[in-house]
Amino acid sequence: MRQADRWMVSLLAAVALGVAGCKKHDQNVGAIDKEKQAALLAQLIDAKAGDVILIPAGTYHFDTSLSLNVDGVTVRGAGKDATILDFSGLVNGAEGMLVHASDFTIEGLTLQNTKGDALKINEGQNVIIRGVRARWTGGPSTKNGAYGLYPVQIKNLLVEDSEAIGASDAGIYVGQSQNIVVRNNKVRQNVAGIEIENSTNADVHDNEATENTGGILVFNMPNLPVPGRATRVFHNHSYANNTANFGARGTAVASVPAGTGMIVNSNPQVEIFDNDIADNQTANLIISSYYSTGYMNKTGVAAAYDPYPSAIYVYGNRFSGGGNAPDGVKLQALRVAMFGLNGHISDILWDGFVDQAKLVNGKLDPSRAICIDNGDAGVLNADGPESYKNPSTDKAPYACTLPKLPPVQLTGKLAEAQQKS
């Protein structure tokens, strides 16, 4: 790999190209680091496979989205506390950095205060996001950009040692991807801390999620090229995710009740084990159907879409606290009706939607069942289909086991990276 600090060289080249033109108007855009921005853009535009683009320590204010369309490039800062790219003054583009490339690594920097997503990587393979922080510095706000770290349609993906703070949708959002490891990240003050959506074969482990609306989400959305399946969520710490939902209405995450430790929505083959999940005021774990989001309709949702969670296996988690102040009047009423004035909702809350067409003798086949083998953790079937009329805490329906999913094995260069933990 060719390593060179070409920052200054590119800076000079960019100036020679006349990039600093329109001088007389520069006062209009405040403290934008025009020359450094142009130099970095030039490096990204002219990058060749094998290049390492180093961004030295410093805080840089940019007004234009950065973008990269070349395979095989590494973008490396001097550490997420040292190299800070600030997009508060962005007027051109939407994202902080937009990447269309394979064999891409980004590490050791902060992208902050973007209008749109902080980092979006749109289609490719072999992507590493390591030690990257995406944040909005003004605290939770619907006006913050949607996603922090947003790889979409990636095959073979490692997201590690990173942070996301303040995203108005998901802090770390892996969409429509395959073969994924998301580990050792910290997410807080996002609507969704970590969201795995329409993705296949994901391991989400050793992450810390707190102060989000919902800590860790596994979702399937309709109308997308592929449905997701097979996600393992294990050895994470998801606690006190009680921030009021500040997602824009209409987003999938806007349907997540504040105080959700983890939530599986409409996704098949999800294994949740060995997590510490605590003090999430609606429920430590929610299992739900797309029907509960309020977005289901016949015209706009593909007929092929499966809106039910299925083959969900929950075991060996450590639950504590939570369920004491669920989000919304209906859930509050449900809590009081079922558990009394000072009671709390069971650790596991299921909305109760079942695909009636797939019942055999009144029961779901194990391949579509919800199996819970988690000691004395309680389960509440909220009876969503009948508007919470007949909720139940009977655990017998979940007394089953499912074959365990195999661990995700990243391949190629990412296999080595996966082993160094």
Partner: protein, 386 residues
């Protein structure tokens, strides 16, 4: 002989940078010059257009063209022109961009009319609409015009390359700015009032963000030169003629059917044609380059190119996928009959980065386009409640 002319043109162009254009102002149109590799520093290196004696002239053999419904770019006027070096080589295609040969050059010059009596470069500009729009048939009369940028798309052996050139203060030539730039302008509206434009000359990667029909291959391609956009008459200097027929007659195209049987998008401004056609034409050119099943926005499941027939794909009652605050607190992309509840109407009217659509290419709203989309949504039948 030709080589010598090209060399002279190249020297002239290089000289222009240092000594000003005036002394060597050409009296004849420039000669198009395909540059097979590298990044020519000046627009004049390409010989597609030249500013001379108050006119922007087209190069010899360079054909101006227009699109029935164009992309909105902050009310800039656009002079489009194409040079195809090898005639008889381009087969007609009813749907895709024509497959032009190596050596083809397309230029698009973005300009604004300036108010009478204004200093051309003081930042005040007028929308290029109605009487302020020039056909470009014989280039542009520059007497009340500010040239902003000229984008070059050149078909090289390994694919298309996109290069943005920004016109200099003296408006004599444009300089390559591969990293793009922002040009602050003040738009004076016809009814009075002004609007600040952060005019963005795209950087090379941003060029690709629209000009990538297939995100997997990431090859770039022109968008406009498709049958459905070109199928209209154009006032050529030797008479008005349908553009497809003209291209066929002069040899740019082969195998084009008669214009009346070729695909034709509606003119979004033409209130005599059905509303749905106008709206779909507008969405096709403004959104369809990303929002299609292979484009950059294929991850959204919202497809707005002209080939789409399934209403769910067009956004009817479709929940957004990754819109974030771009929903504007609305639940569906389109709620038939209800523009105020439709995300698409919200985003085409929005100006904030991250919310507005398209993401690049405009900084202000296109009032006429927003009106059209709202009228269309208001006309749709149906309900999202079941």
């Amino acid at each position: 002989m030709k080589r010598a002319l090209l060399a002279a043109a190249a020297i002239g162009a290089a000289g222009a940078l240092w000594f000003g254009w005036g002394a060597m102002r050409p009296v004849r149109p420039p000669m198009p010059h395909f540059v097979a590799e590298g990044y020519p520093p000046s627009l004049s290196d390409w010989g597609m257009v030249a500013a001379s004696r108050g006119r922007l002239m087209l190069g010899q053999g360079v054909v101006p063209y227009d699109l029935i419904t164009p992309l909105f770019t902050d009310y800039a006027g656009k002079l489009r022109a194409i040079y195809v070096p090898k005639l008889g080589a381009v087969s007609y295609d009813p749907e895709k961009t024509f497959d032009f040969p190596v050596g083809t050059i397309i230029s698009k010059t973005f300009y604004y009319p300036v108010p009478a009596g204004a200093d051309r470069m003081d930042g005040r500009v007028l929308p290029a609409v109605g009487a302020d729009t020039q056909s470009g048939a014989a280039g542009l009369d520059l007497s009340h015009v500010r040239l902003i940028e000229t984008r070059i798309l050149a078909r090289r052996a390994n694919g298309w390359v996109a290069l943005p050139y920004v016109w200099n203060e003296s408006q004599t030539d444009a300089v390559l700015m591969r990293t793009g730039t922002l040009v602050p302008l003040t738009l004076q509206r016809a009814g009075g009032g002004t609007e600040e434009i952060a005019y963005a000359v795209p950087n090379v990667n941003q060029c690709a963000s629209c000009h990538t029909p297939n995100n997997a291959s990431r090859q770039i391609a022109p968008i406009g030169p498709k049958a459905r956009h070109l199928n209209k008459s154009f006032p050529y200097t030797d008479g008005t003629e349908n553009q497809l027929a003209h291209w066929q007659r002069i040899g740019i195209l082969t195998g084009a059917p008669a214009p009346n049987v070729a695909p034709r998008n509606a003119d979004y401004r033409d209130t005599s044609v059905p509303l749905a056609g106008r709206a779909r034409a507008y969405l096709d050119i403004n959104c369809g380059h990303c929002h299609n099943s292979a484009g950059l926005a294929r991850t959204t499941g919202l497809y707005l190119d002209s080939t789409v027939t399934e209403v769910r794909r067009l956004g009817y009652c479709k929940p957004p996928v990754a819109a974030g605050p771009g929903t504007g607190d609305h639940i569906f992309d389109i709620v038939p009959g209800k523009p105020d509840d439709s995300i698409i109407a919200f985003r085409v009217a929005a100006t904030q980065p991250g919310i507005r659509m398209p993401e690049v290419g405009r900084s202000i709203a296109h009032a006429e386009g927003v009106d059209l989309i709202r009228q269309w949504i208001a006309s749709l039948q149906g309900s999202c409640s079941s």
